[in-house]
């Protein structure tokens, strides 16, 4: 229990540290001033209209607007240098007050960052979880198989596949897949989540979504499966050459029992670690995949926030959320590890 508590503390410290550095980067590069200025200008436009109702003299009006601007500047802390706002802005992010987006809106029209992001999160999961499942099942079985057949032709083929998937940008493969399946063969949609107009009825709607998800899920699986398979192979290779495996084989146990009971089980903790890490890593990989398939998840949102007229507030918020998700999964993993591995527990 003390170990878990220590973990919690170190993760919290790291998170606060990260938030602080993000805010410092944003302050020092002048972006935070820019965001606040746009907020102030937005409000000022409203104030000017209200004031214009009562004040007729243009000079008077300018003076009143100027006074309102000064009020707003001091309210947002724009009259002082950026670092005086640090504690305040960090605290705001910690309490999940993520602010408002400048140009992007949620599907329901809200401009609150938390609304926009929460709407996108399920879409990202729809794409990621099936691919995670595929990677786990195929990666495990193929990886262990390769570990028991080291040096064989298929093992070498798998190694080559794993190495080349480290060298091939999956997002480029996705583009080719769109060209082949979406444009040339014309059997799968080229992007988006639903046809336009979306079909009526729950079942046909679901089928439509599934059809749109095939290519993104396949391409996401393709990125992670090679390295994962290879990692499993590397981790189990040592166990596969242990005397107790040879002994089990000599006793005439079936090959599948040897594989699962004698090879995979002792290597379970590092394998589950790399699987969860892979899952967390594919959150980042999904940024590119979602962008290419115009999948309305968080990754596509990040891309939209960066391109065209950048939405700085949204960029900060998304970075924080990605970091948070990553750290929470890492934390769960660490705690699991303490439970799984008797050596660490002691």
């Amino acid at each position: 229990m003390r170990k878990v508590l220590l973990k919690v503390i170190s993760y919290v410290i790291a998170f606060v540290f990260l938030l602080l550095s993000l805010q410092i980067v944003f302050g020092a590069t002048g972006f935070s001033d820019k965001i606040l200025e746009s907020v102030v200008n937005e409000q000022l436009r409203g104030t000017r209209q209200v004031l214009a109702q009562t004040i007729r003299d243009p000079d008077e009006l300018e003076k009143a607007v100027e006074a309102a601007k000064e009020d707003l500047d001091s309210l947002y802390g724009l009259d002082k240098p950026w670092y005086t706002r640090l504690p305040q802005s960090t605290l705001r992010v910690i309490t999940f007050d993520l602010g408002e987006a400048r140009t992007l809106r949620s599907f329901s029209g809200s401009n609150a960052v938390s609304d926009i992001v929460l709407e996108r999160l399920p879409n990202t999961l729809i794409m990621m979880l099936p691919s995670f499942f595929l990677v786990a099942v195929f990666g495990l079985s193929i990886g262990v198989w390769a570990a028991t057949h080291v040096g064989g032709r298929i093992d070498r083929l798998l190694s080559f596949f794993a190495v080349s998937s480290n060298a091939i940008p999956a997002w480029w493969i996705s583009m080719l897949a769109i060209v082949v399946f979406g444009v040339v063969l014309n059997i799968l949609p080229t992007g988006g989540m639903y046809s336009a107009p979306p079909p009526v009825g729950d079942i046909s709607r679901f089928l439509d979504l599934a059809k749109h998800a095939i290519l993104p899920i396949m391409s996401l699986t393709l990125v992670s499966i090679g390295p994962y398979m290879y990692a499993i192979r590397a981790m189990t290779i040592r166990t596969a050459q242990q005397p107790f495996v040879a002994y089990a084989r000599a006793r005439g146990f079936s090959e599948s029992r040897i594989r699962w009971r004698y090879i995979l089980l002792p290597a379970a903790p590092p394998i589950s670690t790399s699987l969860v890490l892979g899952l967390v890593g594919s959150f980042s990989g999904a940024i590119l995949t979602e962008t290419i398939f115009n999948w309305q998840g968080m990754g596509r949102l990040y891309y939209d926030a960066l391109s065209g007229t950048p939405d700085e507030g949204l960029v900060v918020a998304l970075t924080v959320i990605y970091a948070l998700m990553f750290m929470v999964s890492r934390f769960v993993l660490d705690v699991l590890y303490i439970r799984l591995d008797p050596r660490v527990r002691r």
Binding site: L18, L22, F26, A167, W172, L176, R238, S284, L306
Partner: protein
């Protein structure tokens, strides 16, 4: 060690493939660096004026579908073929050998002149086609005279070249058609176009003359939507990709090795601090954070390389620390300390050499990672706009809908280039597996 590494690489087929691939890329990158101007990205690649004479989204000319279409030709000359000086003036003659396709005529003929400079009297431009020693005049023009108050030397067409469509009127077009069909019947595959410039002063000059035969297919790899030659872009990107790959991989490996070793060797608070730093760096997701940093600091190649290094060294440091501890436990380090050797000497001479083969493999293996990371950033629109990179070419293709419109050459070529340049070091690293993992040798 070098011998052992080389022998291991050459003992596997894929290792050999990777080695020679990388060697070829390295040589090509050196040639490109020497031949291409240093400001290629800003002055040529990202300058739409330069590419105005090229066809937009033209298909590669070797592709069967391009068979019936005329090949687009842009002939560029910066030095005249002939120069004759007469009196105070001179005549410059630029000759262009224009190819004739056996099936179809050029869609148009045009020429352009950029940055003319003259002293007092306007130069005269004449464009002719040579046939059997005779000159067939197509066009002539007197460059606009001095404006009131303009000082010598007078400069014309410095920002935007002077472009003339030679076959814009019916008569000229008919004449060219007749000429070409005559040449074709006689079995000739090219004709000579001459651009002649008459200058009144010998100090007058011109920067560049181009002759263009219009067509719908172009070059080895076609063009993009701005008319940029994809093949040129890929060549120009090669040294940059290799630079990113090598600098990031080398710095990250060196940093990881030194920090990991120091952390294990000195222990105490050095170890504590480095472990906490590593904790923080591995606890954050790399891609979103690097995206954020590049966005905040601005898309500059040096920053991108720096951020990739900062987030790239931790894995090695984590791996190497227990290893160094193990070596230290073997006793000869204690002996070295007892003999009074300096820390630096012990680390450099006794600790690091033992891990060197492993470091080399790690280095080779991180090259593709670095190349792919930069390509990914470029694809998300965070590439350095002053240098052409393959990721940016793909991004422009994606943004303008090349994948939906069927411009396959624009998507296929840069992607394949990325794959091949990152596959080469990956194959080398893979072939070295038996060298660092002796256990696998028996397979």
């Amino acid at each position: 060690m070098v011998k052992g590494i080389m022998r291991t690489i050459f003992s596997s087929f894929l290792g050999k493939v990777g080695f020679f691939l990388l060697l070829a890329f390295g040589i090509a990158a050196v040639v490109v660096t020497v031949v291409f101007p240093p400001d290629f990205g800003q002055r040529i690649w990202n300058n739409p004026v330069y590419w105005a004479d090229y066809p937009k989204t033209a298909i590669p000319s070797w592709w069967p579908e391009a068979g019936g279409k005329a090949q687009h030709q842009v002939l560029i000359a910066t030095t005249p073929t002939n120069m004759t000086e007469e009196g105070a003036g001179k005549t410059l003659e630029y000759r262009f050998a224009v190819g004739i396709s056996s099936q179809s005529d050029p869609k148009f003929l045009s020429f352009s002149i950029s940055h003319l400079q003259f002293q007092d009297v306007s130069p005269v431009i004449a464009v002719l086609i040579e046939q059997d020693g005779q000159f067939l005049p197509l066009y002539s023009y007197v460059v606009p005279d001095r404006f009131s108050g303009e000082k010598s030397p007078i400069s014309r067409y410095a920002t935007e070249p002077f472009r003339v469509q030679l076959t814009s009127d019916y008569q000229a077009e008919g004449m060219v058609k007749e000429l070409l069909s005559g040449l074709r019947n006689r079995g000739q595959d090219r004709f000579t176009a001459v651009v002649r410039l008459n200058f009144a002063s010998r100090e007058d000059s011109v920067e560049e003359v181009r002759f263009i035969a219009g067509g719908e297919s172009f070059g080895w790899l076609g063009t993009d939507d701005l008319g940029r030659d994809v093949a040129t872009g890929i060549l120009a990107g090669l040294p940059i990709e290799l630079l990113i790959g090598f600098v990031v991989a080398f710095s990250a490996t060196a940093l990881g090795a030194v920090i990991g070793t120091a952390s294990a060797y000195f222990g105490g608070w050095v170890d504590l601090i480095t472990q906490r730093v590593i904790d923080v760096l591995t606890m954050v997701p790399t891609l979103p954070i690097v995206m954020f940093l590049v966005f905040a600091f601005g898309a500059n190649l040096a920053y991108i390389i720096l951020f990739l290094i900062v987030f790239g060294w931790t894995g090695l440091a984590i791996q190497i620390r227990p290893w160094i501890m193990q070596i230290q436990a073997e006793g000869f380090i204690t002996m070295a300390k007892a003999r009074g050797l300096s820390d630096k000497r012990i680390i450099v001479r006794h600790l690091l050499p033992q891990t060197l083969p492993f470091l080399f493999v790690t280095f080779t293996f991180s090259i593709p990672g670095a190349i792919l990371s930069e390509a990914g950033l470029s694809f998300l629109g965070l590439g350095d706009p002053s240098v052409p990179t393959w990721g940016q070419m793909l991004q422009q293709g994606f943004r303008t809908g090349a994948i939906y419109l069927g411009y396959w050459w624009w998507i296929l070529a840069p992607g394949l280039a990325i794959v091949l340049t990152s596959l080469a070091p990956a194959l080398i690293a893979q072939s070295l597996e038996p060298y660092t993992e002796p256990r696998l040798r028996r397979g």
